[in-house]
């Protein structure tokens, strides 16, 4: 797998016929039009330990401890994990369970940091990535706590490590940003294009890649121009314009569009010689390697009909969302729903005390008409709009009907496990049936059933172990009783023998 995948110009017809996806209103303005503003430091930062896929980080600090910016405050646990660093200097208040961004609404453990406003940094090591070994690059990225910043939050170093085993020829940087409202990646590409390009080259070195493609949707012409200018003269980085369609930013769709290849359903992108990283992740990797700066800040879009001044802000990880809203002028009308992320896949939240985490790309204050929600979902009219919209080629109406009737097994047989939960089907449904909720429910149920099965197997082993132990104990008890009985019998016989011997001697002496 050493040749880079060629750009398939001959598949123009195939692209014309591929009509998956939807075209939600982009609503990127006015947030996309203003420069990124740095948010002033808030008085307190909330740093959840689980901001990434994998095991949560383990805290290394205690209440009362003073930390500097960039200092390690929680270490990675296990192979799939990421460390956490202090985004600014201050005193650790403690570790507590606080509201965190999770669909369950359950609280999660977080380190609370009271900022001192001085923002003193730990001395950091600058390095030239092209003098480092690929494995060393991966190690430094791991130490910097970089995770996928497009929202997936997969620990980037683990992805880079895949390239150590087998070089991955093609790197794709995801500049799609197909979700409406969000423009954090757009502004990043416009204002910090050289960081993105440098990040691409560093990743290429780490994975042994030969070529990088940066896919950017056509609704971002300035970003494309800025990236092209920054990549001018760099042979191994190409900027490619892709159509604006949701979910073009999905890894599977972007790879398929740019290289004509499909990730195998039971495989990874590395299997077809491709790796995808978000442009924000590339910029973070650039900062981590060049300047030794761990991941402690990110750009986030604050938008929505209720926000007075929608814009993009650069914030420290851990900043409470209420601070962001206040900085954007607060709300102009009652908010029907707060959403973290974009409207298609974002999380509905009920409290603005939740902090910005590494994967937070947006905060939306949506009003009623933007939700366009019906009071109740209607019946399925079998219009098959969902079938046409699904980027994976599934049949959402069938799967949802099966799940509704409790037949999870049948829904798996027609492809539930391949669903990427992008929400396009629910978006195009005329009856506004919450299709993706059916699928998320079913996936969760199946996972719970799997855990249950494992527990049942373990229980059986415990029961068997106990029964054999009881048998063994009973056997040993019986054997011990036998031995004692034999002992007593022998002792009795010996005593009897002795007594008769004594009687005999007696008789002999008296005789």
């Amino acid at each position: 797998m050493n040749t880079p995948a060629p750009l398939p110009t001959h598949s123009f017809l195939r692209r014309l016929l591929q009509r998956w996806g939807a075209h939600p209103e982009a609503r990127k303005h006015p947030a996309a039009d203003t420069d990124v503003t740095v948010l002033p430091l808030p008085p307190r930062l909330i740093l959840p330990l689980a901001q990434h896929i994998g095991a949560p980080a383990r805290p290394l600090v205690q209440a009362g401890q003073y930390v500097l910016r960039g200092e390690l405050i929680a270490e990675a646990q296990g192979a799939i994990s990421a460390p956490l660093h202090a985004p600014t200097s201050g005193t650790i208040i403690g570790i507590a369970d606080v509201p965190v961004p999770h669909a369950s609404g359950l609280a999660g453990p977080a380190i609370l940091l009271e900022t001192d406003g001085r923002d003193e940094a730990l001395p950091a090591e600058h390095a030239d990535p092209f003098s480092l070994e690929p494995a060393e690059i991966a190690r430094r990225v791991a130490a910097a706590g970089v995770v996928g910043m497009g929202g997936a939050t997969f620990p980037s170093a683990v992805k880079l490590a895949l390239g150590q085993k087998n070089p991955i020829p093609t790197l794709i940087l995801n500049g799609g940003e197909c979700e409406p409202y969000l423009s954090c990646d757009d502004r990043l590409m416009r204002e910090r294009a050289p960081e993105v390009i440098d990040g691409a080259r560093i990743i290429l070195r780490a994975i042994g890649g030969e070529r990088a493609l940066i896919g950017v949707e056509s609704n971002k012409p300035q970003a494309i121009a800025a990236l092209r200018a920054a990549a001018d003269g760099i042979a191994d980085v190409d900027i490619v314009e892709v159509p604006s369609r949701y979910p073009m930013g999905s890894e599977k769709q972007l790879i398929s569009w740019l290289t004509g290849r499909e990730i195998p359903a039971e495989g990874r992108s590395a299997d077809i010689g491709v790796m995808v990283q978000n442009v924000g992740t590339a910029a973070a990797i650039h900062r981590a390697i060049r300047f030794g700066e761990p991941l402690t800040r990110r750009i986030i879009t604050v938008a929505g009909g209720a926000i007075r001044t929608p814009r993009n802000l650069e914030v420290r990880i851990g900043t409470p969302l209420s601070t962001l809203v206040a900085f954007c002028g607060g709300t102009t009308e009652p908010v029907a729903r707060w959403v973290m992320g974009g409207p298609m896949m974002g999380l509905s939240i009920h409290s603005l005390d939740i902090p910005v985490i590494k994967g937070s790309g947006g905060l939306l204050g949506l009003v009623e008409h933007e939700l366009a929600a019906l009071p109740e979902p209607g019946p399925c009219i079998r219009c098959a709009a969902c079938v046409g919209a699904c980027p994976i080629g599934l049949m959402p109406l069938e799967m949802a009907a099966l799940i509704k009737n409790g037949d999870l097994k049948a829904s798996v047989e027609i492809g539930l496990k391949d669903c990427i939960s992008c929400g396009t089907c629910s978006f195009v449904c005329p009856s506004q049936i919450p299709l993706v909720q059916y699928f998320n429910h079913a996936k969760g149920e199946l996972a719970a059933q799997g855990r249950n099965r494992m527990k049942q197997d373990a229980i059986k082993e415990l029961v068997d172990a106990r029964e054999s132990r009881m048998e063994r104990e009973a056997r040993e008890k019986a054997e011990a009783a036998e031995r004692r009985k034999a002992e007593r019998a022998r002792a009795k016989a010996a005593a009897a023998a002795k007594a008769s011997a004594a009687v005999q001697t007696n008789e002999e002496t008296t005789a």
């Binding site: 359950l106 979902p377 429910h441």
Partner: protein, 175 residues
């Protein structure tokens, strides 16, 4: 018209008789896969089903004396599997979707009598004479044997708390 009525009636009678005879003479005995059904049960012999242990429940299920939903610890998943395997009708609404429960020891009441850990089929209770007992959560199946024997009521079943890792999206309610 008369011919039509008569001929259809005769045909109906003949076919009906044939089906009845076939049901009797070609009846298929449900294969006695007792071991297989028993393997599907949780195996803790807790007795909540009312039969003598999991083997007893397996026997009753095969004989048709027990409904597919007889095993509370097995829950809906087991009931569905049994119904599918044995071809039994399943009244899913009869199964209370109870949250799984595991035992907890109230340390202030425990007197260390060891009755509970001797009765636990999976050795999930730790303890010794005059020592306060504790429950290994992963091993507890919620069979409630320990609750029955505890003289002070120190060990009780409580619902397992939901964590971020075990939480599942609820099924949407439909019109």
């Amino acid at each position: 018209m008369l011919i039509a009525v008569v001929s259809l009636s005769v045909m109906g009678a003949v076919f009906g008789l044939g089906l009845g005879l076939a049901a009797r003479f070609f009846h298929v005995e449900r294969d006695g896969a007792e071991a297989e059904i028993e393997a599907m049960m949780p195996g803790t012999n807790c007795g909540q089903c009312g039969f003598p242990g999991c083997a007893g429940a397996a026997e009753a299920l095969i004989a048709g004396d027990a409904p597919a939903s007889c095993c509370p610890p097995g829950g809906l998943q087991l009931a569905e599997a049994l119904a599918a395997r044995l071809g039994l009708p399943l009244d899913a609404s009869a199964i209370q979707p109870q949250r799984p429960r595991i035992a907890e020891v109230r340390e202030d009441i425990c007197i260390g009598c060891t009755k509970c850990f001797k009765s636990c089929p999976t050795d999930a209770v730790l303890g010794a004479v005059k020592q306060i007992h504790a429950v290994i959560r992963e091993a507890c199946t919620g069979c409630a044997k320990c609750e029955e024997v505890c003289p002070t009521g120190a060990i009780e079943l409580a619902p397992v708390p939901v964590t971020q890792q075990t939480w599942v999206w609820p099924k949407p309610v439909s019109a």
